[in-house]
Amino acid sequence: MEEVKKLPKSFFTKVRPIAKGKEKSSYSKIEEIKWNKDILQGKNKVIGTISKKV
């Protein structure tokens, strides 16, 4: 990827309209990718729980 051209820095510091509250479109209802088990059992694995204060 190093030799591939990137967009100029100014492309990402450009002031554009702010997308506020528009994410609740029909597209956002499409679920994300189903994760491979190995990924889910890696960093995200639950190794213990903190007991509640009595």
């Binding site: 702010i18 499409i30 189903k34």
Partner: protein
């Protein structure tokens, strides 16, 4: 660390409506620290979602703000039962690394990356890109 073209999963982030969103996939489109509207940021990403039906595909295909890609053709991607995904290339999410947990899970192949660059340029010319700064505030 993540670099341009990487596919990452972000554990929690703030959506453009200000509410917390759970785990989701993004493609990194910029990786250099800078400032946008007075806020420091570390990288920029566009959200990625899967296409689960032909009806959804047609809807996505008809929307010029979105870009379809082959999910399992990308480098290092975990196997997905959904052959195709799409990028919401009209949305630029700005992130500070210290504010989120993320993990690199793959990267776009070169053909997809080049297509993405062209798509972003076209959308910019048409004024269709919107920024999401909710994760910097």
């Amino acid at each position: 660390m993540c670099k341009v073209g990487d596919i990452i999963k972000v554990e929690k982030y703030i959506g453009d409506d200000g509410s917390e969103v759970g785990r989701h996939t993004f493609v990194v489109i910029d990786e250099d620290e800078d400032v946008i509207e007075g806020y420091n940021f570390d990288f920029v990403g566009s959200p990625m979602s899967s296409i689960k039906s032909e009806a959804q595909r047609q809807k996505v295909e008809a929307d010029e703000r979105l870009m379809i890609l082959k999910t399992n053709d990308q480098n290092g991607m975990p196997a997905s039962k959904y052959d195709e995904s799409f990028l919401k290339t009209n949305l630029f999410y700005y992130f500070k690394k210290e504010k989120i947990q993320y993990q690199v899970i793959g990267s776009l192949n070169i053909e997809t990356y080049m297509k993405l660059i062209e798509q972003l340029k076209n959308l910019d010319e048409k004024g269709l890109i919107e920024n999401v700064l909710t994760n910097l505030e």
